[in-house]
């Protein structure tokens, strides 16, 4: 009786619209906020479609493979998606979250054995497969890094040779005063090591600032939280170690060249 009464009065509640979540890029581009009603359909401008309420805006994940794709993503309830797509109880791909490694192995075995045409892969294997492009890019980066190191080593050696050349007469005076070759070599090498340390500290500072700028710029361009440039502790350690080794090597070469020259020749006599 009560239901009928409500029907007659037009007060029967319509089922509440289903909810969806959209990604922040779509929300920004379309000017959609939480609580807005939108129509979702499988094709643009298609008749029909479901009216849904936006109940969440999702931050995009830091996935390198999605950077170049200009796609929007929405998340909706599975039954609604099935009905909207007309796929019924059918999916092309689905993900299974497992508790541990053993569960992963058993899920893999169960899915692969379920029927012909079913293929299950670990997410790690898929990541490796889709990262091949990045591996090639990474090799290019390493090659560029190697060339930079060789160029820096030559530059450092030239700087040290020039610095030492500037001091020929000072070193000659030191040698005449009785300062030994060993002391001169130690002093030049210590200076070179200090120069290398200061240089690497400056380099790390500049690298960090450049990295911040690159991340700020490309995160804006691609609207992603992905970090395009990262300076890790390993990178810092490698840079300082390389710099020190190269600096000491350059200092040693330059100073040995200097102390092998007789003091009078250094004075130009």
């Amino acid at each position: 009786m009560i239901v009928l009464l409500f029907t007659a009065l037009g007060l029967v509640q319509q089922p509440a619209p289903r909810t969806i979540a959209i990604d922040e890029r779509l929300a920004a581009d379309a000017g959609i906020s939480i609580g807005d009603r939108v129509i979702v359909s499988t094709r643009p401008n298609a008749k029909g479609g479901d009216t849904v309420v936006v109940s969440g805006i999702v931050k995009r994940g830091a996935d390198p493979s999605e950077i170049a794709r200009s796609e929007y993503k929405i998340r909706m309830h599975l039954d609604q998606l099935q009905s909207l797509a007309g796929y019924g109880d059918r999916v092309d791909r689905f993900a299974v979250a497992t508790r541990d490694k053993a569960a992963t192995e058993s899920a893999l075995a169960a899915i692969n054995a379920a029927a012909f045409g079913f293929e299950a892969h670990r997410s790690r294997d898929i990541a490796v497969g889709t990262s091949k492009t990045f591996q090639v890019v990474s090799r290019f980066h390493k090659a560029i890094g190697l060339i930079t190191i060789v160029a820096s080593a030559i530059f450092l050696l030239c700087v040290m040779l020039l610095k030492v050349e500037e001091r020929r007469r000072d070193v000659a005076a030191l040698r005449l005063m009785g300062i030994s070759r060993t002391t001169v070599v130690k002093a030049v090498v210590a200076e070179a090591a200090l120069l290398a340390l200061v240089g690497s500290a400056l380099g790390i500072g500049i690298g960090w600032a450049a990295s911040q700028f690159i991340n700020w710029y490309y995160q804006g361009v691609y609207r992603t939280p992905l970090h395009f440039s990262v300076i890790t502790a390993d990178i810092v350690t490698l840079a300082v170690t390389l710099s020190l080794v190269l600096g000491i090597g350059a200092g040693l070469l330059a100073s040995l060249r200097l102390v092998r020259t007789p003091p009078l020749a250094l004075f130009g006599r």
Partner: protein, 243 residues
């Protein structure tokens, strides 16, 4: 203020026991340099002796062999012929390592262009030869202060060379040369880069140093400096000539 000098006792064959022993002795000293296919005779058999406490000026025109003689006395170069002894030790045939150690403890050099280390303070510059000689930090700091005070720069010990005038820099260089209490102080044109007034101050300082017991040998074109010495060695064409 006077510098404490360490008087050593030497036995010198052929010298009168009453006379002060020679601190530098050159016998038939010659030095040739190859010049293309020819040989240049920079020094052609020089013999002389300098006793402890003397003040000697080596003078003569350019190319007469003054600097070659200074190099040989300073154990920087090897003679082609003859021998040079300092404090009785023949230094002509010393190898580089031995010569370097000898110079450190026995010879103080003063150059025309000072050659102070630009990144070190005046005191640190004076301490440099003492540090090389292994003198303890406290002792060398005290000695450096004493020397800087002697040359009138006690108030400038923390200044770097760039903050000092030419005359002050030369005085620091002189203090540095005296750091290890050398047997002789060798100066090569020490007033060459200075104006007349500052040059006169340096000449006065050399005179005071000598009066306090330091053996001073200067090579110079400066007549005032040469005149301040007790004895002049005039050179021409690689030999000593009467003045």
């Amino acid at each position: 203020m006077t510098l404490a000098r360490e008087k050593a006792v030497f036995s010198w064959a052929g010298y009168d026991d009453e006379a002060p022993p020679p601190v530098v002795e050159a016998r038939d000293l010659a030095r040739d340099y190859p010049f293309g296919a020819e040989r240049v005779h920079a020094l052609r058999g020089v013999t002389f002796a300098i006793t402890e406490g003397e003040y000697i000026a080596i003078a003569g025109p350019s190319g007469c062999g003054k600097s070659t003689l200074l190099n040989l006395i300073g154990v920087i170069d090897h003679p082609t012929r003859g021998e040079v002894c300092i404090r009785g030790q023949n230094v002509g045939g010393m190898r580089d390592r031995e010569a370097t150690a000898f110079r450190l403890r026995n010879i103080g050099f003063v150059f025309q262009r000072f050659y102070l280390m630009p990144t070190l303070s005046a005191r640190e510059n004076v301490e440099l030869p003492m540090a090389e000689a292994g003198i303890a930090r406290v002792e060398r700091a005290a000695r450096a202060r004493e020397l800087l005070s002697y040359v009138g720069l006690e108030a400038r010990e923390r200044h770097r060379p760039a903050q000092l005038s030419g005359g002050e820099q030369q005085r620091v260089a002189i203090a540095r040369a005296l750091a290890n209490r050398p047997a002789i102080l060798l100066a090569d044109e020490p007033t060459g880069e200075l104006d007349a007034k500052t040059g006169a101050e340096i000449i006065g300082l050399f005179g005071r140093l000598n009066a306090d017991g330091t053996t001073v040998i200067v090579v110079t074109h400066d007549e005032d400096l040469a005149s301040s010495a007790h004895r002049k060695i005039h050179m021409r064409d690689g030999v000593i000539v009467p003045g």
